[in-house]
C-alpha cells in the first residue's frame, strides 16, 4: 500500500528573539535556521494494516503524514501510495484517502452535520447508492442517528469526533489517517471510537495510520509501531517488541524515548 524510501525534508525558519536589543536588531537583519524534519525515512505498509506512528513533538510525524497525503512534496526520496505518487496528482490521490484531525474540525459549524455530509458527497462525487449505504452503516456503528440533525457547534467533543470520523469515511477511502482522534474525549467516547476503527478495518480492510500521544489508543488498535525521533525512523516493530512484563504502556514509551534520547 505504502512505500517510503529515503525520504528527506527540511525547512527554513526565521529566528525570532526576545528582548529589546534583539527586537531592534531584527528590524534590520533576519536570521534563518534550517530544520531537518525528515532524514532518510523509509518504511513499507501493506494493505489493511493498522500502524501506530509515534514520536515526540517535532519529530517529523506531521511532515510524514503531509507527504503521504500529497499536501507536501519531499526534497528527495521515493513515495508510493497505492501505486501512485501522492503529490503528483493531488486530486486523484486524495479522493482515495480519508483524514481526521483531532484538533481541527472539517464540519461546518452552524449547520446540521448532515448538511456537511451532503456537501462532502458533492465534493467527492460519491454515487447516491454508495453514499446512502455508507451513511446508514456509519450512523448505526457510531450511533449518530440523533446527532446528524444537530449543528456541529452544539455537539460535545465526543459526539463531534464520531461525526468527524464518519465524515472522513463517507467516500469509502482505502487509506485513513487519524491524527489524535481521541484527544480530549471522555473514556466512553474513546472506547467507542477505538472499537469503531477496529471494526472499520475488519469490515472494509481500510489501512489505518494512527498518530497520537495517547498510548492506550496504540495499545488497543495497532499491532505495529513505527517510532520516529529527530526526523529518523528509530524503530519499526510490534508492541511486544518494546513491552517489558508488568509495565504500563506509558512507562514503556517513556523508557523507549529515553533510550533513544529523544
Amino acid at each position: 500500500m505504502i512505500t517510503m524510501k529515503d525520504v528527506c525534508k527540511s525547512y527554513r525558519v526565521a529566528k525570532r528573539n526576545a528582548g529589546f536589543g534583539e527586537a531592534c536588531k531584527s528590524l534590520f537583519r533576519r536570521e534563518y535556521e534550517t530544520i531537518h524534519a525528515l532524514r532518510n525515512v523509509s518504511f513499507t505498509i501493506s494493505d489493511g494494516e493498522m500502524v501506530g506512528y509515534i514520536g515526540p513533538n517535532g519529530a517529523g510525524k506531521s511532515s510524514t503524514i503531509k507527504i503521504l497525503s500529497g499536501i507536501l512534496t519531499p526534497d528527495s526520496g521515493e513515495v508510493l501510495v497505492d501505486g501512485r505518487v501522492p503529490y503528483q496528482n493531488r486530486i486523484r490521490h486524495v479522493a482515495q484517502i480519508g483524514v481526521v484531525f483531532g484538533q481541527r474540525s472539517q464540519l461546518w459549524w452552524d449547520v446540521p452535520v448532515i448538511d456537511s455530509y451532503e456537501l462532502l458527497k458533492d465534493i467527492y462525487s460519491i454515487p447516491k447508492k454508495q453514499y446512502d449505504n455508507n451513511l446508514e452503516e456509519l450512523t448505526i456503528l457510531l450511533n449518530l442517528s440523533e446527532l446528524i440533525r444537530t449543528p456541529a457547534r452544539q455537539l460535545s467533543l465526543g459526539q463531534r469526533m464520531r461525526c468527524e470520523i464518519a465524515a472522513s469515511l463517507l467516500h469509502s477511502p482505502k487509506l485513513l489517517f487519524l491524527d489524535e482522534p481521541t484527544i480530549g474525549l471522555d473514556a466512553v467516547s474513546k472506547l467507542a471510537v477505538r472499537d469503531f476503527i477496529k471494526k472499520q478495518n475488519e469490515l472494509h480492510g481500510t489501512t489505518v495510520i494512527l498518530t497520537t500521544h495517547d498510548m492506550q489508543d496504540i495499545e488497543a488498535l495497532s499491532k505495529r509501531i513505527i517510532l520516529i525521533g529527530n526526523g529518523e525512523v528509530l524503530m519499526d516493530g510490534t508492541l511486544e517488541d518494546i513491552k517489558r512484563g508488568g509495565q504500563s504502556i506509558d512507562e514503556t514509551v517513556v523508557e523507549l524515548y529515553r533510550s533513544y534520547e529523544i
Binding site: S63, I91, R92, W109, D110, V111, D122
Partner: protein, 266 residues
C-alpha cells in the same frame, strides 16, 4: 467537458447555499452587519455630499457624474467581495492551516476557496451603491441609449474582474509571507476610496498607471467619458472588457504560490 463545468457550478452553488444557511443561523447579527455595511458606505457618500455642497464641481465633473462613478466602483467592489471573500480573507486560512483541509479534498483549490466564504452581508453596500447609482443616473444629465447602457454593463463586468484579480493576488502573496500584506490594500481599498472620483482628476501619471499597471481606467474613466458624452469613439464601449484579461496573470501567480506552499509546508 461541459458536464464537468456544470458539476463545478453545482458544487459552487452548494457551497453558497451552505454559507447562506450558516449565516442565517444568526439572523440578528446578519441584519446588523448588513445594516452596518450600508451605513459605512452612507458615510462615504455623506463625505462626497458635503464636498459638493461647497464645490460646484471637481475638475469639471459634476455631482451627478461623480455619483455615477462612485456607485459603479462600489457596486463592483461589493460584488467582488461578496463572491471573493475567501481570497480576501485568505491570510487567516494559511495561518490556521485550513488550507491543508482544502488540499485534502479532491477538488480544484480555487473552487474550494471561493466556496469557503460567501458573504451575503455585502448586500448592504450593494444596496447603497444601487441607490447612489439611480440618483447619479437621473442627475448627471446623460442622454441614455442602448450603447451607453451596454457600456455600463461592461464596466461592471470588467471592474468586478479587476477586484477579483486583486484579491487573488493578495491570497497568492499569503503563500510567500504573512507580513506586510497590507500593501495590497492600497490597490483594493484604495481603489474603492479614491475610485470615487474619475481618475482624470488625479493627473496624467495616475491615469497612465491606471491604464497600464492595474487597468482601473479601462473600467472607470474612459468608458465614463463615453457615457457622459464627452467622447464619442465607439471602441470605448468595449474597452472595459479588456480588463477581463487582468485575472489571468493573477491566477498564474496563484498557481505558483500553491506549488510553493506544497514544497515548503506552512
Amino acid at each position: 467537458m461541459k458536464g464537468m463545468h456544470a458539476k463545478r457550478l453545482r458544487l459552487y452553488l452548494h457551497y453558497v447555499s451552505i454559507n447562506v444557511r450558516s449565516s442565517m443561523q444568526y439572523k440578528t447579527s446578519f441584519l446588523l452587519t448588513t445594516l452596518g455595511q450600508f451605513l459605512v458606505s452612507f458615510q462615504v457618500f455623506l463625505g462626497i455630499y458635503f464636498m459638493f455642497r461647497r464645490f460646484e464641481s471637481v475638475k469639471g465633473f459634476t455631482y451627478g457624474e461623480v455619483l455615477l462613478c462612485f456607485s459603479t466602483m462600489l457596486l463592483e467592489f461589493s460584488l467582488a467581495e461578496m463572491f471573493g471573500r475567501g481570497f480576501d480573507a485568505f491570510s487567516g486560512m494559511v495561518r490556521t492551516g485550513s488550507f491543508d483541509q482544502i488540499l485534502i479534498r479532491p477538488r480544484n483549490e480555487i473552487l474550494q476557496v471561493l466556496g469557503s466564504k460567501f458573504e451575503l452581508t455585502r448586500i448592504g453596500r450593494m444596496l447603497q451603491a444601487v441607490i447612489m447609482f439611480i440618483y447619479g443616473v437621473t442627475h448627471c444629465g446623460v442622454h441614455w441609449n442602448f450603447c451607453k447602457m451596454i457600456t455600463i454593463l461592461f464596466m461592471f463586468i470588467g471592474g468586478t474582474a479587476i477586484f477579483c484579480g486583486l484579491f487573488v493576488i493578495y491570497a497568492s502573496l499569503c503563500f510567500f509571507t504573512l507580513e506586510g500584506l497590507e500593501v495590497m490594500n492600497i490597490f483594493t481599498d484604495g481603489a474603492r476610496e479614491y475610485g470615487k472620483y474619475p481618475i482624470g482628476i488625479y493627473g496624467k501619471k495616475m491615469l497612465i498607471f491606471a491604464t497600464v499597471v492595474i487597468p482601473y481606467a479601462l473600467v472607470q474613466y474612459y468608458p465614463l467619458l463615453y457615457v457622459w458624452g464627452r467622447r464619442t469613439e465607439t471602441y470605448l464601449i468595449f474597452l472595459p472588457l479588456l480588463a477581463l484579461l487582468f485575472p489571468i496573470p493573477c491566477l498564474m501567480l496563484w498557481r505558483f504560490g500553491v506549488r510553493r506552499y506544497q514544497s515548503s509546508g506552512s
